[in-house]
């Protein structure tokens, strides 16, 4: 993997990001590079800062120091080093380049499945209604919901809502997709259908950072696993390497042990 920032800059470059909520340090100098086409899964105990890290990447959350760049462009601030926050208009444009899928789906309840997908396409991408509708229908069929285009979120199951959530994010053609425990709120029998969609996106080369508790998925589908603990990156590497570190990394061992105890 290239580490030089000159000849092969990472698509996502998180460098020394720290953040505190009041006196609680939630991120402690987190650094992580993600290359185009990579699927990086983030694991770690609850409260270790996984959600906060993802939310910093599209600046839903600001941070105290460090830098986050996508395609070489500083996300939240006018230039690296300066702490001058971008204008809201600029931030909106930056955020349109990243997609996000939420644990609680967060579909717009007054819009149909197609309407949820079309909103960003028409308002942000400036597409015509007809074109946006076509794109929405394309993505809905990609996630197996072509027949639900005109259903409201309240009429869909959790798994279906989440697949609309994914379609809404990828229809914007983001450079990178952020997924935060997207199956945690689902009944176990609905997890598979959602993960299958993520897998197929990975096969298409979508760059993803995915916080998950689905260990089997992390092991099989990711190029690298990031293990977070206490607001820092405790281990990072290909799945095999990380799981092999269980013998040497005390935190990882106790996380996996507790994890197995609660899941099997």
């Amino acid at each position: 993997m290239a580490t030089s920032s000159h000849d092969n800059p990472a698509l996502l470059d998180i460098a020394g990001v720290s953040k505190a909520f009041g006196s609680v340090e939630v991120l402690r100098s987190v650094s992580l590079k993600v290359d185009k086409g990579e699927v990086v899964t983030v694991i770690g105990p609850s409260g270790s800062g996984k959600t906060t890290l993802l939310r910093c990447v599209n600046f839903l959350e600001s941070y105290d120091s460090g830098s986050i760049r996508i395609d070489g462009k500083e996300v939240g601030f006018r230039e690296a080093g300066t702490r001058q926050r971008r204008s809201e208009r600029d931030l909106a444009a930056m955020r349109a380049e990243t997609g996000m899928v939420f644990q609680s789906f967060n579909l717009f309840p007054h819009l149909t499945a197609a309407g949820n997908i079309m909103l960003g396409l028409t308002k942000v991408r400036g597409k015509s209604k007809a074109e946006a509708r076509q794109i929405a229908e394309h993505w809905l069929s990609r996630v197996g919901l072509a027949h639900k285009a005109d259903s409201l979120p309240a009429e869909l199951s959790g798994g279906q809502q989440q697949r609309v959530g994914i379609a809404r994010a990828v229809a914007m053609e983001p450079k990178i997709l952020l997924l935060d425990e997207i199956t945690s709120a689902l009944d176990p029998e609905l997890v598979g259908e959602v993960l299958a969609v993520v897998r197929s996106l990975a096969e298409d080369g979508m760059t993803m950072v995915m916080v998950t508790h689905e260990m089997a998925f992390a092991r099989d589908a990711s190029s690298r696993i990031v293990f977070m603990a206490d607001g820092g990156v405790s281990a990072v590497g290909p799945p095999k390497e990380i799981l092999a570190q269980e013998t040497t990394n005390e935190r990882l061992r106790s996380f996996l042990a507790r994890f197995r105890a609660s899941h099997f």
Binding site: A96, G99, M100, F102, S104, N106, F108, K123
Partner: protein, 221 residues
């Protein structure tokens, strides 16, 4: 009881009641429309503003909610023109008063609705790249409307009844018409029976219409 009901005199002057009812409705519709604008603008401003603006808006709401409407009506109709060089008719004065009054109540309704919109929905709006204005108009307001519709209907209805206060400055709305007939015919029981029935009926019709609107919105959720 030696009182025999006789509605003949009421029917003879019924135009006073009918015209009064139409004026009551007109006063209510205009005041509520202005009040909705005041309420929406201030509520949106409130939820995005700093402490000073919030304190000022809260003070306006508190003031209005703690002063009886009838006092505000006197204040605006008799008080204001004696202090500043302004002249307006009684109906205009009342519409002004009820607008400001309803605005205060509606700020509260809209503010609590705006604050009840789940943060996740706003985050989702940010995440797809909507600007603050787009998030307001396409995400926050539609959800807020759904949340507040029942409270909104109740507020509208109670504001319609509040138009009766206009009678104290001789605006010829429904209650004033009733007083006029009472004064000229002394059929006090009959006139107030009929007037009450008219308020009730209009209230029911309004409520029915508002519930229809609510149901349409709820169906589209």
């Amino acid at each position: 009881m030696g009182y025999a009901l006789n509605f003949n005199l009421i029917w003879r002057h019924f135009d006073k009641l009918w015209g009064g009812l139409l004026l009551s409705l007109e006063l209510a519709v205009i005041s509520i429309a202005i009040g909705v604008v005041i309420g929406l603008v201030l509520a949106v401003w409130y939820v995005s503003a700093g402490r000073v603006v919030r304190a000022i808006i809260a003070a306006y709401v508190e003031f209005i909610r703690n002063v009886p409407l009838i006092l505000l009506v006197y204040l605006v109709f008799y008080g204001v023109p004696t202090v500043v060089d302004l002249a307006y008719s009684a109906p205009t004065s009342f519409v002004l008063t009820l607008s400001v009054y309803s605005g205060a109540y509606l700020v509260e309704v809209f503010r609590s609705g705006l604050e009840a919109v789940p943060r996740g929905q706003l985050d989702a709006g940010k995440a797809i790249g909507l600007t603050p204005w787009q998030r307001l108009t396409h995400v926050r307001l539609p959800t807020m409307l759904r949340i507040t519709l029942p409270a909104l209907s109740n507020t509208f209805l109670s504001l319609f009844k509040d138009t009766s206060v206009a009678s104290v400055i001789s605006v010829p709305e429904l209650t004033y018409g009733a007083q006029w007939i009472n004064f000229n015919t002394f059929r006090i029981v009959e006139v107030y029976l009929v007037t009450t029935a008219m308020y009730l009926l209009t209230g029911y019709v309004l409520l029915f219409a508002l519930r229809l609107v609510e149901r349409r919105f709820r169906a589209a959720r």
